[in-house]
Symmetry: C2
Subunit: 464 residues, 2 copies
Amino acid sequence: MFPDVSAFHRWFAQRLDAEAYRVATVPLHRLEGWSTEPDSGDLVHRSGRFYSVRGLSVTQSGRQVENWQQPIIVQPEHGILGILVKEFHGIPHCLLQAKMEPGNVNLVQLSPTVQATKSNYTRVHGGRAVPYLEHFIAPRRGQVLFDALQSEQASWFLAKRNRNMIIRTDEDIPVLDGFCWLTFQQIGDLLRVDDLVNMDTRTVLSGAVALRPPAGPASDDGFAAALAASWQPSGRPLHSTTELLSWFTEIKAGATLTRRLMPLSEVAGWSAGDGVIAHDEGRHFTVLGVSVEAPGREVAGWSQPMFAPRSQGVIAFLARRVAGVLHLLVQARTETGALDRIEMGPTVQCQPADYAASQPGRPELLDQVLTARPDQIRFDVVLSEEGGRFHHARSRYTLVEVDESAPLRVPRNFAWVTVRQLTDFVRFGSHLNVEARSLLALIGFLPDDQVPAPPSGRLVASGG
Amino acid sequence: MFPDVSAFHRWFAQRLDAEAYRVATVPLHRLEGWSTEPDSGDLVHRSGRFYSVRGLSVTQSGRQVENWQQPIIVQPEHGILGILVKEFHGIPHCLLQAKMEPGNVNLVQLSPTVQATKSNYTRVHGGRAVPYLEHFIAPRRGQVLFDALQSEQASWFLAKRNRNMIIRTDEDIPVLDGFCWLTFQQIGDLLRVDDLVNMDTRTVLSGAVALRPPAGPASDDGFAAALAASWQPSGRPLHSTTELLSWFTEIKAGATLTRRLMPLSEVAGWSAGDGVIAHDEGRHFTVLGVSVEAPGREVAGWSQPMFAPRSQGVIAFLARRVAGVLHLLVQARTETGALDRIEMGPTVQCQPADYAASQPGRPELLDQVLTARPDQIRFDVVLSEEGGRFHHARSRYTLVEVDESAPLRVPRNFAWVTVRQLTDFVRFGSHLNVEARSLLALIGFLPDDQVPAPPSGRLVASGG
């Protein structure tokens, strides 16, 4: 446990020094353990397990671009992302770990207690046992606070979901090397640091937002009060949950997106060369190979293909107050790889470099985010996507509050939603996409920089 | 509107006489407008629309029988099942219709206000416009009370879902020929009549259970009070919703079921002959063809393939009181054709004739239902499945209350759940299967035979 955040940073710096990792780019055709299928060009592991990179043909997307083809990661198994929570002196703490992932720009970030693919925990690697796994697989002893199957980056994964779990325990928990206990308040501070709290931790934390009233930065403009009202079950939403579920059903019922796996070598608009597969116009992402030497990992070294975005993303909610209650502008979004094709996403989610100004397909409202005044920006941090599959994939996560002249009538695929309503949707899984869940965790754990913490810091009851 | 249920029955008898329908069995290879694809043997419509009958290969089902092949109905579009509600003198009424469906044993049953496939309402038939459809498609004027995408019979349909909607209106609504207004109390009475309220009406009504306190038969054993406590948001459940969602996630995360479409002519264990496709051991169902002459329908005559079960089904919840609150024993069930493979179903759902006593695969707890004492049976009615696709598909729907010596610890794929918890799951769609939704409607609208109705009979607020 750390008395303050600077003590954490000292510990974390030691962790960085403790082990020598080396990640090098390797041509795809020279990846140890991986091969290119002769007929399809698909990238597959020799074990037939882990994941593969295949081609996807998308038609009738309902987006500005109706039809396209692209490489996609296929990983048809559910992993576990789990955070163990324990109270010390009445204050709940989360057990997180400093973990290396080859795609991280800084290699090591803060991961959940357990971050394991099924291959991991059934030891297809032949690696070491996953520590603390026994708290997350049945029969287990702790109290479940959250447990839902959630989608991951649907632009890059086909039907990938992970089980997101938060388990509370009263047992004595040995703290293994590389692990640490952090309070929610400390995590709130660390979420403001670029590239520190990884995507897996953020998505699990979105399940904890319902359990703890948000603080919000102390300011005299009423933002903290509007945020608190947005979290309260009694806070009056613009639309009832019945209306929002109907809005979501309407968009889902109209979805026409059709997906078909196809040979990777035949994907139009993409070409293999120089040991990578790249988009012909330099947009979106590149498929590349890396080799890893990592003495602290389950396996001391390995190679793998990864997706490397060509540019930084922007992931933003617009927020506005409605009768004193903060509302977020949620988008019912066609999600290429998501099981049910439509999920709720942020107001804006894109790589702006892919959409030159005034180009067709440039997302609505992107410019409102990019031109926001400093006083409108409630947070603004660059965070990494999953470093186990994505190489230096970074996005700017931001919350932009617009004033009450912003229209409440919005295009049919958008809706103004309270924080409480989002936490209700998160519980049921497959409603919020991973980008929206990251933003929700950032909103729910905004640091309370000036006001002292409530004396107990306890979690509230989990809503039934 | 009807002063009492007998007035309804007189009206309904006139409807039966009003139009002359004729349904005849026709060999599959002589179905007008349908053909057998030469390579696959699949049954398809010449328009390429509506639905098709194909082969399905199932592996790693996680059921007693791990792998099998079967014919399946493929209909990759969402229809609308909608009920229009309006208050007259403060009492909500539902607009239902007496509608012919060729698979109904009695041809005509009570359907929702709108029961339309996408082909219907976009008029692929070239038929008449669907009446009242304007109340269900955007932009619409009424108030939405319920709106969710729900699965249908997953043993016979691949990934079939319909949009279930309840819309309240204050407008003047002309009552077209064949339509009628019924109160929820009258519908409760009619749900007790064999083969009268059709499946589409029942699944939509499951979305209304949250809106109106159940009555339950007046009896001196406290059943009505236990049912009312089970419906109340304040009624204390055995498991919190967080625990139930975790239980459901656990079963989903462990699902291994794999499905692959295959040529219908190659499906093992099934054979074509005598103009039908039948199971070699006489189990499950038969694929047969029918021709219909129906002057009152959108199209005056047509032909189509249907699935005809070989025997009657049993669809039952076991119920028991826990501290005075009625709980239902729900099963997290592998659903062959369901989008996400696992849904919550009744305690027992099968065709008992397919499972001789002591045969492996005979469902757990079936015998508890079949041998229940009369005083344990809270309702018992034979109802039809969707008469547009299924021919004389009938099941016994029953609620069996077991005493408090029945174990609260149950096999891992079962859980005791309150009515309120089920109504919460129903709102989010794809949680309860269609059989469980029918039972929920029956439970929620149990007639209150002796106690007078509450003066207003109004719907309560829809839960946010």
